[in-house]
């Protein structure tokens, strides 16, 4: 049994966006809070696409872009649908997102960004301990009473489990009946490719520190559930893909081979030409959504961020959900400490806060989209990108065939491959959840 007389107020496992958000809120409220991080430094084990979103991030770190290590603000989002040898891209760019405080998102490098967030929590009074692996939980009866590291026991009145997508602690706490299934996670691999600031500005149509996000579907991935992405850092770009672990496991695919095929696509090739690959990395993404969320709390403990599988797999939001969940966990902890009540009845507030916010509401809205796409990946990520590109070829190609005849051929071939009622159902399955 843990000695709670020695306990700190809150121990947080994992110095990622969720854990550090919780630490900041608790430290600001004057609570004794310790964050345990297994990496050599904060951020050392962390990987994402990626972008952090301005509005939710600024709620915790007001005007962070003035002092934090951000790379570029994203003024443009391009959606590209690929076949093996062609691509159709839609781009949205807005002047609005090119000025403070209306930036929509920023690219960051996690090794720098997470460390900066840790510094903010430390400045508020949190203790952050690196190179410390938490091996188990401490129990006082059926209440979590802190954690056990490799070196020592760490009693705490409350424990926030924010140890990431591969959370061994959620299972040790008994908050998940079985380990996540391969179809509940994606495996992401990416490369940071250095191109130089001017080359990026020229190639990606950027100016004054602006950047571009690419969301890419189809192409070399069309037979499996897999999407590609590009983010622009200051002098490097990130090129990567996320594939369903289930599909990789079933089809015996090597993610790094897929990445190589991706690079050779005619849309990608000129974007990375002449670049130098400076780091390859890989990480799991908890894409299972609403159905994958574990029990979010038990007596003495709460689960936040990726450990709670809080990722919006449609809009590719994760860090914002992590920060929000960390904040809600901290607010619940403040109540619990105030009332000196660490029971499930008190901590139920955490789930209530999550459910009444966009975090769980969005995951619930999209709860069936990924399974739909996964079961019909040949349709959504194969047929539609192919037909769109075929339509573009019909419209753009000049070949002395009467236009009426070309359109007729296109329509005929489309409806031969997929009936009109099936296409209507495809749209309803994807669009329906938004309208309900």
């Amino acid at each position: 049994m843990a000695d709670l007389a020695e306990a700190v107020d809150v121990v947080i496992v994992g110095a990622g966006p969720a854990g550090l958000a919780a630490a900041l809120v608790l430290a600001k409220a004057g609570k004794e809070v310790v964050v345990l991080e297994r990496g050599e430094f904060v951020g050392a084990k962390n990987v994402f696409g990626g972008a952090i979103y301005t509005q939710p991030t600024a709620e915790l770190y007001p005007e962070f872009w003035k002092s934090a290590p951000v790379e570029r603000f994203n003024a443009e989002h391009r959606f590209a649908l690929l076949t093996e040898d062609s691509s159709t891209t839609i781009s949205y760019k807005s002047e609005k997102h090119m000025h403070a405080p209306h930036y929509n998102s920023f690219t960051v490098q996690r090794s720098l960004w997470d460390r900066w967030c840790a510094e903010q929590a430390e400045a508020a009074g949190a203790y952050i301990v690196t190179q410390t692996v938490v091996r188990d939980l401490l129990w006082d009866g059926d209440r979590v009473a802190g954690v056990r590291t490799e070196q020592e026991e760490f009693p705490a009145k409350l424990t926030i489990i924010a140890d990431g997508v591969n959370s061994l602690l959620v299972e040790k706490a008994g908050l998940r009946r079985s380990i996540p299934k391969p179809n509940e996670v994606a495996l992401g691999v990416k490369e940071v490719i250095r191109l130089g600031e001017d080359v990026i500005n020229d190639r990606f149509n950027c100016e004054n520190g602006s950047g571009v996000i690419y969301t890419i579907a189809g192409g070399p991935f069309e037979d499996i559930t897999c999407m590609g992405f590009i983010y622009t850092n200051k002098d490097s770009i990130v090129l990567g893909l996320g594939a369903s672990l289930y599909d990789l496991q079933q089809k015996l695919l090597k993610p790094y081979d897929m990445l190589e095929r991706f690079k050779k696509h005619p849309m990608i090739r000129p974007l990375i030409a002449g670049g130098e690959m400076v780091e390859y990395s890989g990480h799991m993404i908890p894409e299972g959504g609403f159905h994958s969320i574990p029990t979010l709390y038990c007596a003495g403990a709460m689960v936040a961020g990726d450990a709670a599988m809080l990722v919006n797999n449609v809009h590719w939001e994760g860090t914002n959900l992590a920060m929000a969940s960390g904040r809600f966990a901290a607010e619940t902890a403040l109540q619990a400490l105030e009332n000196n009540d660490f029971s499930v009845y008190q901590l139920a507030l955490y789930e209530k806060l999550l459910r009444s916010s966009y975090v769980v509401q969005d995951l619930e809205t999209y709860r069936n989209i990924l399974p739909t796409v996964e079961h019909n990946s040949d349709v959504y990520l194969g047929f539609y990108p192919r037909q769109l590109n075929s339509l573009m070829e019909t419209l753009v190609g000049v070949d002395s065939v009467p236009k009426k005849e070309k359109i007729r051929q296109f329509m005929q071939s489309s409806f031969r491959k997929r009936s009109i009622p099936s296409m209507m159902m495809d749209m309803i399955k994807i669009g329906g959840p938004m309208l309900r």
């Binding site: 050599e40 084990k45 692996v133 591969n166 496991q249 670049g275 390859y280």
Partner: protein, 100 residues
């Protein structure tokens, strides 16, 4: 000269060479070799992003290059038998991503 020669292609060995590691003294990944021997696909040999697992038919062993591990956990979830004993490396060891 085709564009392809100009793009930064790399083998998995070259990719892993860009990653910083401080391997622990012993493997933090222990597959159950009895399961590996009967596993028809050895899927871990394919999906692992760091190419950690390599089935050696001569020794009838699933060799584990744990030094290259990203600690992503995909093998823990993706092993069909779910029989890879999986822990995080000891304090301060394992992979460090300099960019992330």
């Amino acid at each position: 000269m085709s564009m392809q020669q100009n793009i930064p292609t790399s083998t998995i060995e070259e990719k892993l060479f860009t990653v910083k590691y401080k391997p622990g003294p012993t493997s933090h990944l222990i597959p159950d070799q009895n399961d590996c021997q009967v596993c028809p696909t050895k899927a871990c040999n394919y999906f692992c992003p760091a190419n950690v697992y390599h089935w050696d038919p001569m020794q009838s062993l699933n060799l584990v290059a744990y030094e290259n591990c990203f600690e992503c956990g995909a093998c823990r979830l993706g092993c069909v038998y779910q029989s890879i004993e999986w822990v995080y490396p000891k304090d301060g060891h394992g992979v460090t991503f300099r960019h992330g």
